[in-house]
Amino acid sequence: MAMTTAEVVDRLEHETGNALTTVPAGERDRAIEVPLSSFNGMIRSLCAEDEAVISSLHACDDRDSGGSLALYCVLTSRKWNGALILTAPTGGQYPSLTPFIYSANWYEREIQDMFGIRAEGHPDPRPLVLYDTWPEGTYPLRKDFPADTKVPLASSPYPFKVVEGDGVFEVPVGPVHAGVIEPGHFRFSIAGEPILNLEIRLGYLHRGVEKMLEAASPSKALLMCERISGDNGVAHSLAYLQALESDTEVPEAIEYGRCALAELERIHNHLGDIAGLALDTAFSVPAAELYSVKEKMLRLNQRLTGHRLLWGVMKVGGMRDVFTPEAVDEVQRTLMEVGNETDALVQRMLNTPSYMDRAETTGRVGLKVAKDLRLVGPVSRASGVDADIRRDLPYAGYGKLSFRVPVRTEGDVLARMHVKAEEIKESISLIIESIDKMSGSRAPVDVTIPSKGVRVGIVESPRGEVLHALHFRDGRVIRHKVRDASFCNWPGIEQAVLGDIVPDFPLINKSFNLSYSGNDL
């Protein structure tokens, strides 16, 4: 039986011998204030003792209300029934967590870029987003930085890692790629064919998403959330709504409808991923057929909702009534077709030696690496991590729906394909079950916006755990933290490619299929 977060806080109080100040954080989660001196230690001991993991580490500029530049760490654990949020004030610096908990790495670099809060002792303090042309001292998420600031051009060259030795070559790729994908820079160091090192530099798509979200009304923020990472728009808007509506009771039918919508999104994402694997192994026929199946899903989405990517359906306090009795028949019929066709095509790929030769043992990520980097979603489940937010911290209607969480242990391209193919089957039955359970009122409700404190929404997007954290003051959002699954998984690719050959990179990259826009914000 899972521990409640209240029990965890009690235990911490007992251990430290002090009463801890709590911050309102909704019913299930708990937020506590700790002094900066015990911030790291407490996180480290919770990670060690309760197998907690960092779901987000971010900052908030509270200075204009008498606070400081404060750190927030959102911890989750399979042993707890909610999230535990630790917050500590800083004076602009704090001791880095990265030397002890590797998954803090990119978070700390991001905080440094966006707030100018330095992580003392960070092993790699280079900028994550604001490099090349950004002048020193540009901290966009501080409150004294207007969203439309015209930042002058500066020259701050980015020091790439250099691998030296006889016969070592560098292959720089991107940001503009040969295929139709998002921009990012990949720098391979190779000796012959095998990859010795891969350095990924992202940030090309940085649009100022979090800054813009702070100023947006809830209905506008919802539309913006759909456009953080377009193919995962439902997941992001759902994560936002989980946080925003945490003090509101949403009708059951809406909760189920939202699950159905999220699973529809998962199916077309996974279909595209598997089709991409066929395409990148030059296996054109199943690729073309799988893309046709994906188109079938996009068309179903369009007929159902008027939008091929399901945007505009989710509303604050409700959703548009798209699962009408007439529509349900068509949904079921199409899903049966899609399920059967996908099965057959996946089988054909698995029965083809030339495909298996490319996919098996390629791009391996072991369980230890997956845990240390804190990978999420299908990528982690292909490496033996048995975690799925839908089951572990149920949201919307998932607590009352039945489904399996497929886990593989091989950690290669093939395992990631298997996990996604299995998840498509689970999604199909989840959609049918959740539409079936939609009874009672579907009318939207008025949402009680929390007046203060912090609220967290965590959902399982097609790529894995997505987190939105909302910080409220006087009934307004003053900080909107967004953390896409890709932010956790990008460092995984750097590990997965080691020892593989450069031509396998596109295949490995496709098997992760990460979002650049969701990462860069």
């Binding site: 921009p183 798509l205 813009m212 990517l309």
Partner: protein, 250 residues
């Protein structure tokens, strides 16, 4: 083999869409107010994209619209419907529509010398300059067997050096600007630029920040504006065929 043939016969598949179907069903639908509109302004308040304004008339900038449909239930006179099937245009101003507007015609004027050089085929390089990847989903859809762009002699190529046209998405972020300009420089003349989607046309919901501009036309000469969020693949196919002067022929 027999199994494969049997399955082909049995399965109901989506077939490649003939041009006639593509033409009948344009698919990026924008809101349009009819004569019942009394300029009350409720839709202006409801529009999260600030795409609707009311001056002497009801005016919508479909280059800013996010196609969310929030204006439809907001109208007390029920005068707004998602009825305007938008085509691509060669003038940004053609995307600004008034109450009861007839839609802009799908008429893309290219400079004569461009048409002569291109003939009937087109090589496209896609550049994501800050998109959310919604537009990329649809550009990839263009290559699926249903829209099958290549049957028209239109190809998405790997290098700008092989390209006649840059298909640009996103508001143009500060971090992508140098790469976009380099890609443009690497494209041989005469070269075309198409701005695809609301962000590329007007900046979109994240445009005009410290980190992103307000559309492609700020930094490059744009020949074709393709509206939508994201634009439907049909809208894109028709735009490209029209640009090549191939819609009149059929």
């Amino acid at each position: 083999m027999l199994d494969i043939i049997k399955r082909r016969v049995r399965d109901r598949r989506i077939e490649t869409e003939p041009l006639a179907i593509l033409r009948q069903q344009g698919c990026t639908r924008a809101p349009m107010a009819d004569s019942r509109c009394d300029l009350c302004g409720d839709c202006v308040k409801a529009c999260p994209a600030s795409a609707i304004t009311i001056e002497d008339d009801w005016i919508i900038d479909t280059g800013r619209c996010l196609f969310c449909g929030d204006c439809v239930p907001a109208c007390p006179k029920a005068s707004i419907s998602l009825s305007a099937e938008l085509p691509a245009v060669s003038q940004r101003s053609s995307l600004v529509l008034r109450r009861n507007s007839t839609l802009p015609e799908l008429k893309i004027q290219l400079r004569d010398e461009v048409r002569q050089v291109l003939g009937r085929s087109l090589a496209i390089r896609e550049v994501d300059a800050g998109s959310c990847n919604g537009c990329e989903v649809e550009v990839n859809s263009l290559s699926n067997p249903i829209y099958d762009l290549e049957r028209f002699g239109i190809k998405i190529v790997a290098s700008p050096r092989h390209a006649d046209m840059l298909l640009v998405t996103g508001p143009v972020t500060r971090n992508m600007l140098p790469a976009l300009l380099k890609t443009y420089q690497a494209t041989p003349e005469p070269r075309l630029v198409a701005a695809m989607g609301t962000c590329a046309i007007s900046g979109g919901p994240f445009g005009g920040t410290y980190a992103a501009g307000s559309g492609v036309a700020e930094v490059l000469p744009v020949d074709i504006f393709i509206p939508g969020c994201p634009p439907h693949p049909r809208t894109v196919v028709l735009a490209l065929l029209e640009a090549l002067g191939r819609l009149q022929v059929t």
